[in-house]
């Protein structure tokens, strides 16, 4: 009885199966931007989330028998991991209120990368009215309204680490934007304190209670800041996003008052994959409080206005080497701040289990860069300071998805974006570039080793060669080997073993020296004029091409299945990618 129950449990959580291709159009947009009533504000918190993720959520997971059954099933080889639920048949994330395809399929120009989300050059620097203060939290600052009427949150570097937090925030903002996320317009601004005036109704929150902000409060924020030779103060200006903020979004569950929010956030690929981008820029503080849900108004046409929630990633001031107004320490990104399992393991193993970074926990660094290194970075081991449910669900496919976005940045791209951080020490700037490149390479090597790194597939039917006796036109299936385009592997040391399947029958096979497969004549054709027989059902007009990448001297890669559909009277189309 028990075994039957156990089997049922395994089956129950492991038997979801979907067709890996579609013969219809590929889904490129998830319509979660439908008009909804304005939701209530979801207030952020600083304490409960870490406590919940560290303790309560960790206990809750095994109590969810779906989770437990799947884990057991994985251990027994009966079930795979729970894959993301907002992925189309090309293994991609359609655009939505969370994510937009930007720099991977169609490379952005250098200028576009530099500009990022910005539509202005930053705040007007002639006159700022301080309308609210921020005297608590990890970074101090205030909110201003400039002469144009635009509102900005102004944040300052820690006095001991000039340029650190502001540069990190701007650089990571632009990287995240290019990767596809919604981020605020963040810019470095040097301003003359004389342009500041305090709004009589400006308030500041002290210990949970708001009161009118005073000149002394303003001075307390400004006085510790270093001045440039011309007397100006450096700050990071974050423009208010368009729309009405309605609090934070979470890395788990959905928002009850948002009818558009239908996919559990922990099962959204762009959130799972954000962990890989986070590991690149060492963003271990990516928690609910560092997000923003904005009730956005889209005027699509006269009389066609939709209001919906758009989901932003905020507060990149604890990335790269920065940790708020201070610096990261070696532990950040390496292990959770508090992990009872690690503590128990350390205790039982008598401290004999060691980690490389423990041998050199304190290192010298540029004050404007902080602690940011590739030396101890291992993509598979990178973690937040507190567990993140979406990151915990990450599968190899999610990781690959994130990694290919990381690898999409060329060295020139990275240099262009890092320059936006306006680090005055060129050596420090170069250090950031080199560290990003080194971490990028580690990410590529790891994730492209987990999944066959082929993408950007394209298929075309070539004209029949003269004298061909084939019964249909040959096909060419081309693609990018991301490990090669990313400079991780040599093209001449890479080959691609392929096989074409029609139903259960293998029709042809071969090995290609280049990422372009010339498939031979096929047993059927979509071309009625070809005078050959063809299938009468859509499913009978789908071919599967199985590709394995071979590198000299190494094990073959996992398989990638590419599905090609032959519509009647049209060109063959790529309709599915299935990664092992």
């Amino acid at each position: 009885m028990r075994s039957a129950l156990f089997l049922s449990l395994l089956l129950l959580v492991g038997c979801a199966s979907t067709k890996p291709y579609t013969t219809g159009p590929i889904k490129t947009f998830d319509p979660d931007d439908r008009d909804i009533p304005r939701p209530d504000d979801a207030r952020e918190n600083q304490y409960w989330d870490p406590i919940d993720r560290t303790f309560f959520y960790q206990i809750e997971k095994p109590l969810d028998l779906n989770w437990l059954g799947r884990k057991l099933g994985q251990g027994l080889g009966l079930a795979g991991p729970k894959e993301a639920q907002n992925v189309n048949t090309l293994d991609e994330v359609p655009n939505s209120s969370w994510f937009t395809q930007r720099h991977f399929y169609t490379p952005m120009t250098t200028e576009a990368l530099r500009r990022g989300p910005n539509v202005t050059d930053g705040p007007d620097l002639t006159a700022w009215t301080v309308i609210a203060g921020k005297s608590e939290g990890r970074t101090r600052g205030f909110t201003i309204e400039d002469a144009r009427g635009d509102r900005y949150v102004i944040k300052f570097d820690g006095p001991s680490f000039p340029e650190l937090t502001s540069s990190a925030e701007v650089i990571t903002t632009k990287l995240y934007y290019a990767a596809g996320y919604f981020v605020p317009q963040n810019t470095i601004a040097y301003f003359d304190p004389a342009i500041l005036s305090l709004d009589p109704e400006a308030e500041v929150e002290i210990e949970g209670e708001e009161r009118l902000m005073t000149e002394a409060d303003l001075a307390a924020i400004l006085d510790p800041q270093p001045r440039r030779a011309d007397g100006k103060v450096r700050a990071m200006a974050s423009k208010y996003v368009d729309g009405r903020p309605v609090g934070v979004w979470t890395f788990r569950g959905t928002r009850d008052d948002d009818p558009n929010d239908r996919v559990l956030h922990q099962h959204r690929r762009e959130l799972r994959g954000l962990s890989v981008l986070g590991s690149w820029v060492n963003d271990p503080d990516r928690r609910n409080a560092n997000t923003l849900a904005v009730y956005t108004t889209d005027v699509r046409a006269p009389g066609d206005t939709a209001r919906y929630i758009r989901h932003y990633v905020l507060d990149m001031g604890s990335t790269l080497g920065a940790n708020g107004s201070g610096t990261h320490v070696v532990q950040h990104g390496q292990e959770y701040l508090f992990d009872p399992r690690t503590m128990a393991y350390q205790t039982v193993t008598l401290g004999l289990h060691t980690k490389p970074w423990e041998f050199q926990p304190l290192v010298a660094f540029y004050p404007s860069v902080g602690y940011f290194t590739a030396k101890y970075f291992e993509p598979e081991d990178w973690v937040m300071v507190h567990p993140n449910p979406a990151y915990e669900y990450r599968t190899d496919r999610d990781g690959f998805w994130g990694a290919k976005r990381v690898m999409a940045f060329s060295e020139a791209d990275i240099r262009a974006i890092v320059a936006e951080g306006q680090l005055t020490d060129p050596d420090a700037e170069e250090y950031v570039v080199q560290t990003l490149l080194a971490r990028q390479e580690k990410i590529g090597r790891y994730w492209f080793g987990r999944v066959n790194p082929l993408d950007r597939f394209a298929v075309d039917a070539r004209p029949l060669a003269s004298g061909s006796t084939g019964t249909s036109r040959p096909l060419r299936l081309s693609f990018d080997d991301l490990a090669v385009t990313g400079g991780l592997e040599a093209a001449e040391a890479s080959r691609y073993r392929w096989a074409v399947y029609y139903g259960g029958a293998r029709l042809a096979e071969g090995t290609a020296e280049k990422p372009a497969l010339d498939l031979p004549a096929l047993p059927f054709s979509a071309d009625p004029e070809a005078g050959v027989r063809h299938a009468n059902r859509e499913a009978d007009r789908v071919l599967r091409v199985e590709i394995v990448t071979l590198r000299d001297g190494r094990e073959p890669s996992p398989k990638t299945n590419v599905y090609l559909y032959f519509p009647l009277g049209g060109d063959p189309r790529l309709v599915g990618i299935e990664r092992e």
Binding site: C15, T28, I51, N86, L337, N536, A539, D540
Partner: protein
């Protein structure tokens, strides 16, 4: 395919998430089906996928299997409400500020297990220089134990007396031990013991003189009135009963005037990322103390003592491991004599046993004129502010240095956890084992070596 197939076999399709397996039709030849009929393009009738939102589909079965987790979420909700209230009301912010900024006056509870009085709790109130003025500090506290023992104490200090580099402190207290154990004097005393009670009051002045960055001299003078009673006598107002052990000096009353000096040479290196751990180096502590009974009670005879002590501490990172895995070694030799024909009161003899030395043994388990203690600890971090520790202690008491021998050592071993806070160990929890009796649990607040 395999999970879907198993689902079908198990007949669980109703509960399971929809299984939509690919249904490619195998062909028996490359020729394929024959024309006509004209194929129907199903895609033409499919809805535009860009108009159909993704949605997490949860079956009834999945809801059922998640029920235990849902119940747990209810528990979490209670805590969530409390934590959110504390944050939004500003309570946490105020508490954080309180911890970051030294307050004028604050109080800390104390608790210990395995010490002189067993389970003990107390409260100490601290007044800082924000309240008393630059350089000044004071504390006032008390404790109460499960066996009826109690104490009250106070201390006021000026770390730069009159603007000088000298630190001055004046302290005093009253202590009452309802039940202590006295074992026979000597290294081979058996486990039989007598119980006695004691109470004493003291007042003392301490002068601390820094002699350099790593060298300090601490001297003090103290007056202590001490009364030792049998447990039966303890409730009486006058301590004039007979000693429970006739030939052991010290039972009865005595007024001790004593002075001492402690020279510390600390060449150890502390610090670290989060917690103040000592990683490597050497520390030497040399102590000298003389006390005499100025009451000259006929009942007790002439009592005095001269105590000399030397303690060497060595901290060594373990080779091949990160430097925060380290050995802490300690050797302490102590000798207590009575000048001339005086006797040393039993409670001033050198002792071993208790949470500070031989941790597996009862408090003051061994007592004689001299003691030798060897301690070895392996300390390793398990968290920012937590160390785990494995330890072994060995010690013996003796009448003369010539008696020290390898086979006279009493030993124990054990392990525990240390919580670091502020500038020193804030708390520790240890379990120690010996051949003598059951394991002893030690929970204490305060620094260790």
């Amino acid at each position: 395919m395999r999970p879907a197939l198993l689902c079908a076999l198990a007949g669980l399709a109703v509960l399971a998430a929809p299984a939509r397996a690919q249904t490619l039709t195998p062909v028996d030849s490359v020729a394929g089906p024959v024309l006509p009929p004209e194929p129907q393009d199903e895609a033409n009738h499919a809805p535009d996928p860009n108009r159909v939102p993704y949605e997490t589909e949860t079956s009834l079965g999945e809801h059922v299997l998640a029920l235990p987790a849902s119940l747990w979420s209810g528990v979490a909700y209670v805590f969530r409400s409390a934590v959110l209230y504390a944050e939004y009301s500003g309570t946490i912010a105020r508490a954080e500020r309180l911890l970051q900024e030294t307050p004028s006056v604050y109080a800390l509870p104390t608790a210990s297990i395995g010490g002189r009085q067993g389970l003990t709790g107390g409260l100490t109130v601290f007044a800082t220089e924000r309240f008393l003025g630059p350089g000044w500090s004071a504390r006032l506290g008390g404790s109460y134990s499960a066996d009826g023992s109690y104490s009250a104490f106070g201390r006021v200090a000026d770390r730069s007396a009159l603007g000088s580099p000298l630190g001055l402190a004046l302290g005093g207290g009253y202590y009452r031990d309802a039940e202590e154990s006295f074992y026979d004097i000597g290294n081979d005393s058996d486990e039989e013991r007598l119980d006695y009670a004691s109470r004493w009051g003291l007042v003392g002045l301490t002068v601390e003189l820094p002699l350099g960055e790593r060298v300090r001299l601490i001297t003090d003078g103290e007056f202590k009135h001490y009364e030792v009673l049998s447990v039966d006598q303890e409730d009486r107002s006058s301590p004039d009963g007979e000693s429970p052990v006739a030939d052991v000096p010290g039972f009865g009353g005595a007024d001790f005037l004593s002075a001492g000096a402690l020279l510390t040479l600390d060449f150890s290196e502390a610090g670290g990322l989060y917690a103040p751990r000592t990683y490597q180096g050497t520390a030497l502590l040399l102590g000298l103390r003389y006390g005499t009974d100025i009451s000259t009670s006929p009942a007790t005879g002439a009592l005095s003592y001269l105590r000399t002590s030397a303690e060497l501490r060595q901290f060594v990172p373990v080779p091949l491991l990160p430097f925060d895995r380290r050995l802490a070694l300690r050797a302490r030799l102590e000798r207590t004599n009575a000048p001339g024909d005086d006797d040393v009161p039993f409670y001033e003899l050198s002792t071993l046993g208790g949470p500070e030395d031989l941790r597996g043994y009862r408090y003051d388990r061994f007592r004689e004129q001299g003691s030798l203690l060897l301690t070895a600890e392996y300390r390793y971090p398990i968290f920012n502010t937590f160390d785990a520790v494995l330890f072994a202690d060995a010690g013996q008491v003796f009448d003369d240095l010539d008696e020290i021998a390898f086979d006279r050592f009493h030993t124990d071993f054990g392990g525990g956890l240390r919580l670091y806070g502020g500038e020193a160990v804030a708390a520790r929890l240890e379990v120690a084992f010996t051949p003598e009796g059951s394991p002893r649990v030690i929970a204490a607040v305060g620094a260790t070596f």
